[in-house]
């Protein structure tokens, strides 16, 4: 029998210095400053955990596969091919786009994809880690952040596809192309804000994720993802007022045209989303014990 020699060195220093935590029925929102400090110190403390979880998911996801990361490119390419086919056969009439249609669709689906992944990720990560959260004290925010990092990573890989596509279609990126990632980040931010707000109710009732999923898949057709925004008709009014229109259009225009008419609504939407996200993170922390309690034993 082997005997391991662990350095058993619990600090024997004055225990009066040890931090004291009090658990009581009172709401943590009674001391909001303390709560915010706690959340961010937890996230900082768990930066290594976040990284390890991120790499764990990445490694595990493609270990049982021959083609591995190649699968990341498949959704972008397949959506583009489908819409090119529909467009070329005149099954669906799409108005003239300012850049070649394949690139238009590819960029649109890419931006929209970031948004939808960001909407679903917080709740999905939270539910995937349920068995851990209900047994061990660990900040679920680290798990959610790791899930978000995965979206960013996959996005970066997909962006590589743009290079050959742009070359083949002879598109020259606009001078504002460096703002393209900013636009993508905004799409992710808006998605994450919705995603965080979904967690409290969504982890208790599965109706929430089903409802949001339905609304979002419908929302893609109310957003100029695969077609340019119509200029007339009742549909144009809805699309004009859809906050995601601005995000998709501005982000795409930054890479291709260099100017956009939707800049103001884009900024307003992003600002509101940032505030909502912050509130969502706070609310999540406040209700977390109640969610864990209802997960079972």
């Amino acid at each position: 029998m082997s005997t391991a020699n662990f350095p058993l060195t619990t600090s024997n220093s004055d225990c009066a210095e040890l931090p004291v935590v009090i658990y009581s029925p009172a709401s943590p929102l009674a001391h909001p400053g303390k709560l915010i400090g706690e959340i961010f110190s937890d996230l900082w403390r768990c930066r290594e955990l976040t990284w390890i979880l991120f790499t764990r998911d990445l490694k595990a996801q493609y270990r049982q596969s021959y083609f591995g990361y190649i699968w990341l490119f498949v959704p972008v390419i397949s959506t583009t091919v489908v819409w090119m086919f529909l467009n070329s056969t005149q099954v669906i009439q799409v108005a003239e786009t300012p850049i070649p249609y394949p690139a238009y669709v590819m960029l649109g689906t890419m931006i929209w994809g970031v948004f939808t992944s960001a909407v679903g990720q917080p709740l999905a990560s939270f539910q995937a880690g349920q068995s851990i959260f209900m047994k061990l004290k660990v900040p679920p925010e680290a798990f959610i952040l790791a899930g978000m990092s995965k979206i960013v990573f996959e996005l970066l890989i997909r962006m590589i596809v743009l290079v050959p596509v742009f070359m083949a279609l002879k598109i020259v990126p606009a001078s504002t192309f460096w703002l393209f990632p900013v636009g993508l980040a905004a799409a992710g931010l808006i998605g994450a804000a919705i995603g965080f707000l979904m967690i409290p109710l969504g982890s208790l009732y599965s109706d929430v994720s089903r409802l949001v999923g339905t609304v979002i898949s419908f929302g893609m057709y109310l957003t100029p993802v695969v077609y340019p925004p119509p200029t007339s008709g009742w549909a144009s009014t809805i699309i004009q007022w859809n906050p995601m229109t601005a995000v998709v259009m501005v982000t795409r225009d930054w890479l291709t045209l260099g100017h956009s008419t939707f800049l103001l609504p884009f900024l307003v939407t992003t600002m509101i989303a940032a505030i909502v996200l912050f509130a969502g993170i706070l609310a999540f922390r406040v209700v977390l014990p109640h969610l864990i309690e209802r997960m079972g034993m």
Binding site: M1, S2, T3, A4, N5, F6, L8, T9, T10, S11, N12, D14, C15, A16, L18, P19, V20, V21, I22, Y23, S24, P25, A26, S27, P28, L29, A30, R45, E48, L49, I52, L53, R56, K59, A60, R63, Q64, G129, S131, I132, F133, M134, K135, L136, K137, V138, P200, L201, L204, Y205, A283, V286, V287, P289, H290, L291, I292, E293, R294, M297
Partner: protein, 420 residues
């Protein structure tokens, strides 16, 4: 809070609801209350009353654990032990009372949480360690010791899904014991793993205690509780049934599940255990005295009386004496009618248990009367309970370790010349 007190529970209560739909809805209500009523004075009526379908999973639990102390938490399944642990660990909030915890809390619960079956053992050490709050550097320093402790040097680079459940728990435990918390919560993790591994784990926990950690141990193994705990808390239906010296509390707890009399007699033969050929009349362990245990220095007498209704049987009897933890101290018996010449009569058997054999403690006696040593005619498990006490240890009859307490003879020689 006194500087030495690491955990303090004060009147802690927790409500649970068995109905799923109601439980979820109460979850929504509680969440909304915490979100929108910031400075609610916790109205007494609100914390004290139960909503429709709710019950108290924990009620009025109060205790303190100091540095180097171990509280053993015992109770039947569903008594509320895990709920209490979850509150101490800060996973769920108490509905009543408060908990103060000093220092970092570590938990030996859910061993191997977050193991990914596709990844190798080595990769999972990093993930699991990080979940338990270890830094990358701490993990890489400890990784060899972990593999060694888990006794998995050959399997460490194969995927965890190829491990047996025992192997993955061993790996989980080895990782979990790298944490250096000031407060350690252990929930029934020693039940898994083989005997060797269990011993190693107990040794590790003793070390942790020696280093000034406070430990809260949940176990169904009463020997572990008696050996490790400095105080035991017995929970029943969410309430604290007894708290105090582990030997006493464990005895009280185990006493609830077996007969509590040293003498039993069946007046009505039809109600007595047995069958057509043999029926039991009386079982007693003498001397019977409710106020005083049998002295370790006088020994005990076991009396057995039964009626035999059949001729020509080869009767025999077996006595089995168990400790409260169901450890068999001895299993013995004899042949009463070795030549197969039983008669229709009342048989009385007196058996002497010598002095200085049984250690002080509570024992249960099981009785079997058999035919030809193979067919059990009567078998009554734990028919009587008796207590043995050690006078010199005082009225509390505290127990010395061990199942038996023999009186040994010894000689001591001195040889002064050899020192020069």
């Amino acid at each position: 809070m006194n500087d030495d007190v690491m955990i303090r529970c004060d009147g802690v209560g927790k409500k649970f609801c068995r109905d799923l739909k109601k439980s979820l809805w109460y979850g929504v209500l509680d969440s909304a209350r915490d979100l929108f009523r910031r400075r609610q004075p916790m109205i007494r009526r609100e914390t004290e009353s139960l909503r429709n379908g709710e019950f108290w999973a924990n009620r009025d639990i109060s205790f303190e654990i100091k540095r180097g102390e171990c509280l053993g938490l015992i109770g039947r399944n569903g008594a509320g032990k895990t709920t209490l642990l979850k509150m101490l660990n800060g996973l769920i909030k108490p509905d009543h009372g408060f908990i103060k915890v000093r220092g970092q809390v570590g938990a030996l619960i859910a061993l191997g949480a977050g193991f990914n079956p596709v990844l190798t053992g080595r990769e999972n050490i990093a993930v699991n360690g990080a979940i338990l709050g270890l830094s990358k550097q701490q993990i890489s320093e400890a990784v060899d010791d972990i593999i060694d402790f888990a006794e998995l040097p050959h399997a460490i680079d194969s995927p965890v899904r190829n491990y047996s459940s025992g192997m993955s728990v061993r790996l989980g435990f080895a990782i979990a014991t790298c944490i250096r918390p000031e407060v350690l919560i252990v929930d029934e993790v020693l039940a898994v793993g083989d005997a060797d591994f269990r011993l190693k784990c107990l040794k590790r926990m003793r070390n942790v205690l020696k280093n000034g950690c406070a430990v809260l141990l949940v176990s169904h193994n009463m020997t572990d509780i008696r050996n490790m705990a400095s105080t035991a808390l017995w929970m029943q239906d969410g309430k604290c049934q007894a708290i105090g010296e582990p030997y006493k509390v464990v005895s009280e707890y185990l006493g609830t599940s077996c007969s509590d009399t040293a003498e039993i007699e069946w007046e009505d033969p039809s109600a007595a255990p047995g069958g057509d050929s043999v029926s039991l009349r009386r079982v007693a362990v003498l001397p019977v005295d409710i106020n005083k245990p049998i002295s370790i220095s006088t020994g005990a007498k076991i009396q057995l009386a039964f009626d035999c209704h059949e001729l020509g049987l080869r009767l025999g009897f077996t006595l089995e004496v168990c400790t409260e933890e169901q450890i068999v101290v001895f299993h013995t018996g004899g042949s009463l009618t070795p030549n197969g010449d039983s008669v229709r009569a009342n048989y009385n058997v007196d058996v002497t248990v010598p002095s200085f054999l049984l250690n002080s403690g509570k024992y249960q006696l099981s009785v079997t009367i058999d035919e030809s040593q193979c067919i059990a005619l009567v078998h009554v498990p734990n028919v009587v309970t008796f207590q043995v006490g050690h006078e010199s240890l005082g009225v509390n009859h505290a127990q010395l370790p061990g199942v038996v307490a023999p009186k040994l003879t010894w000689k001591c020689h001195t040889n002064e010349q050899s020192l020069i």
